[in-house]
């Protein structure tokens, strides 16, 4: 049995906790309860012939006041960077988060999730921005914790790229 540590990173209120809740427990809440510190969850997925247990470290959202403690990132085999499609700044922030992650644990697989696809009409992240990210070689997926759209695929994608290593 293989286990992998994955950290969820992104600005506050982008939906990290909601994505984990949708993925692990198939639930969704509109209420916003900010995460304090770390919340740990796990889910077993099957990738090819392998069962993998994902240990999900849902960290508090990053902002000026609360930098992510690099201690939390240590030993992580993959990252899910999450942005809120309706807030462009959260998408732009991912560059910085990614750089920090690299300096803390080195070059590990990651996937970028642009969340709240159910609010697509209100999105602030346009096709151009998405295209630029893809051009850099990033895997960018659209998700909605609310409807569940793309969530399963997102976690499978990171699991796969971790195992491919």
């Amino acid at each position: 049995m293989i286990q992998k540590k994955i950290c969820m990173l992104g600005s506050f209120a982008v939906g990290k906790t909601s994505l984990v809740a949708r993925f692990v427990h198939s639930i969704y809440r509109d209420q916003y309860l900010t995460t304090v510190g770390v919340k740990i969850d796990k889910k077993q997925v099957r990738v090819g012939d392998n069962d993998v247990t994902l240990i999900l470290w849902d960290l508090h959202g990053e902002d000026e006041f609360q930098k992510i403690r690099s201690a939390y990132l240590r030993g992580s085999s993959g990252f899910l960077f999450v942005a809120d499609g309706t807030r462009r700044s959260t998408f732009d922030k991912i560059h910085e988060l990614q750089e920090n992650a690299v300096s803390a644990v080195g070059d590990v697989p990651f996937v970028v999730l642009v969340n709240k696809s159910d609010l697509k009409p209100e999105w602030d992240v346009d096709a151009e921005a998405l295209g630029a990210a893809t051009d850099r070689g990033w895997t960018v997926l659209e998700t909605s914790a609310r409807t569940g759209e793309g969530v399963e695929d997102a976690f499978l994608a990171i699991a796969e790229s971790m195992l491919r290593r």
């Binding site: 293989i2 540590k5 770390v38 796990k42 470290w57 201690a71 602030d124």
Partner: protein, 579 residues
């Protein structure tokens, strides 16, 4: 209509051609111009602008906050600066606001500490009176260590319920073992969380990488963590494990690192190789239970029983001693003429009673003796005083007035009254001296019977019946008369005794009479002679306390040839000192 106002039409001075145009404009656009002017004014006036803005401010903020976080970003420094500032200015309000949260946290911490204390106290008490406790006491005496320490050491109960082997860098679970009793849920999540907590602690308290959290408490569980270069071992313990268990954990970590250095070194998430570490981890699943109550040896049993008996007897003696002492002091206190101001019971040495005592009161030693206290057992420090207790005052009156036994005294609130019987001289003396008895303010004796007067009266009655007859014209005693005179003498003797006892003298008249025959002169003479004859016959000289008057009445209406006696009952008077 006059020409256009030059102030309103500055263009009026320009050329003649613009003049009519301006006029037309003012005619056509006058209302609009006025409204423009008002708008201008409103825009220029900051008060107006603020008013307008206030109407839409909340909505504006809401809209912007929904759109992006620029507002948040721009307000954050202001808000934090404002908070800092107001905290500086009025720290108390902030303290008040924080208090409820802090208070409960502090309370919880205190409760936890107290809980531990009570726990160990309970153990100490529980074990103090048991056979096992006795053994531990002996051990404490033998080893010179405090009893409480021995109790804690000996009754220690703990069980290691789970042991985790955790990859240090990733927090991933390498292996997990548990004792049958504990069912572990999500060991892999627990392992990650444990790592997160340690990361957090290390980061937050700025400790170096090597100093890390190595013990934490969750309810009645304790987690002990031992850390190696690649992995940590965490043991979940219920109860209190001995410190020596830390050594067990350290050895286990070292052993696992030694045996599995390679898989640890290139761990990629596959925990399978660490099945091999199970035996090492399982060796940490130790438990220690309280020593079951052993069948004590007969010697120990007897010793315990004896000790218990000694304690019971000592307690009983103590209680009895306290009870008798209380009884003795109460008896002293209730004794008339004794006032106890201080009563002290001493364990070692004599007890002490301080207070006041009327010399006429009952001997306090006697009272104490009745309660089993010999004179060496109690030191008495009683100052003399005059009690106004009824019992004592009457006793004092009896003593001072030398009252005969037949006199009874009553005393109430300063008033002394006498009853019973007493001879008249004593009655007179008592009247004189009673007011000088300490505590007496008034004296009454109307219920006191005068025995002297009563006795005199009775004897006088008998004496009156004594009539000594004489022959016609003779003052010679006929044999019958001599007989009667003798009985009269007996009564006189009794009166003499009464007078002597009363300390006075009594007047007796011996009255002679004649019958109607014969002349008055003869009668007077013969009656006088008859009285003298009787005086001689009863031998008046022998009655030292009687005074006699002889009287010849001559012929009386009864016309009796007799001699009679009369006692002057009121005549008893104290003998003169010189008599």
């Amino acid at each position: 209509m006059s020409g256009p106002d030059p102030r309103e039409s500055p263009a009026g001075n320009d050329t003649g051609a613009t003049e009519p145009f301006n006029e037309l404009r003012s005619i056509l656009l006058a209302p609009e111009q006025e409204r423009l002017r008002q708008l201008q004014e409103r825009l220029d006036d900051p008060r107006h602008r603020a008013e307008d803005l206030s109407g839409v401010l909340p909505e504006a903020i809401a809209i912007r906050a929904r759109r992006d976080d620029r507002l948040l970003v721009s307000m954050r420094p202001v808000v934090s600066e404002a908070m800092r500032d107001s905290m500086r200015r009025d720290p108390k309000s902030f303290a008040d606001a924080l208090f409820p949260a802090l208070g409960s946290a502090i309370r919880k911490a205190i409760a936890a500490t107290l809980g531990e204390m009570v726990q160990s106290l309970n153990q100490v008490i529980e074990n103090t009176f048991s056979v096992r406790g006795l053994k531990w006491r002996l051990e404490a005496m033998r080893t010179g260590r405090p009893f409480a320490e021995i109790v804690l050491l000996r009754s220690l109960v703990y069980r290691v319920e789970q042991v985790f082997l955790v990859h240090r860098e990733t927090g991933l679970l390498l292996q997990h073992v548990e004792s049958g009793a504990a069912a572990a849920k999500d060991a892999d999540m627990a392992s990650a969380m444990l790592t997160a907590i340690r990361d957090f602690a290390r980061d937050t308290f700025d400790a170096g990488t090597e100093d890390s959290l190595n013990s934490l408490n969750i309810g009645d569980l304790t987690v002990w963590i031992e850390q190696g270069p690649h992995a940590i071992v965490a043991a979940v313990i219920r109860g209190t494990a001995p410190l020596s268990f830390k050594d067990v954990l350290r050895e286990t970590v070292e052993r696992i690192h030694l045996e599995q250095l390679e898989p640890l070194d290139d761990f990629q998430g596959d925990a399978t190789p660490f099945e091999a570490s199970r035996p090492a981890l399982e060796s940490c699943l130790v438990a220690q239970y309280a020593v079951p109550e052993q069948e004590a040896s007969p010697v120990l049993k007897i010793a315990t029983a004896t000790l218990a008996l000694v304690i019971v007897i000592a307690l009983a003696m103590w209680a009895y001693a306290a009870w008798t002492w209380r009884g003795a002091v109460a008896a002293l206190k209730s004794e008339p003429g004794i006032v106890v101001t201080e009563a002290e019971r001493n364990w070692f040495g004599a007890n002490l009673v301080e207070g006041l005592r009327d010399p006429l009161s009952k001997d306090p030693r006697e009272i104490l003796a009745l309660h089993g206290y010999g004179s060496a057992d109690v030191r008495l420090d009683l100052q003399p005083f005059a009690s106004s207790d009824a019992g004592i005052v009457t006793k004092r009156a009896r003593e001072v007035l030398q009252a005969p036994d037949a006199v009874e005294f009553a005393f109430d609130n300063g008033a002394l009254s006498a009853s019973g019987t007493a001879p008249s001289p004593w009655i007179a003396r008592a009247r004189e001296f009673a007011p000088f008895v300490a505590g007496v303010r008034s004296y009454a004796d109307e219920r006191l019977l005068d025995t002297t007067a009563a006795a005199i009266k009775a004897e006088a009655e008998r004496l009156r019946a004594v009539r000594i007859p004489f022959a016609l014209g003779s003052a010679e005693l006929v044999p019958e008369a001599a007989e009667v005179a003798r009985s009269g003498a007996g009564i006189l003797s009794a009166l003499d005794t009464i007078a002597r006892d009363a300390g006075g003298t009594l007047r007796i008249r011996i009255v002679g009479q004649a019958d109607a025959s014969g002349t008055d002169a003869t009668n007077a003479r013969i009656s006088r002679l008859r009285a003298e004859a009787i005086a001689l016959a009863v031998n008046t000289a022998q009655f030292r306390n009687l005074e006699f008057d002889l009287q010849g009445l001559g012929a009386t209406p009864e016309s009796d040839r007799t001699v009679t006696f009369q006692v002057d009952e009121s005549s008893l008077s104290p003998r003169k000192a010189n008599q």
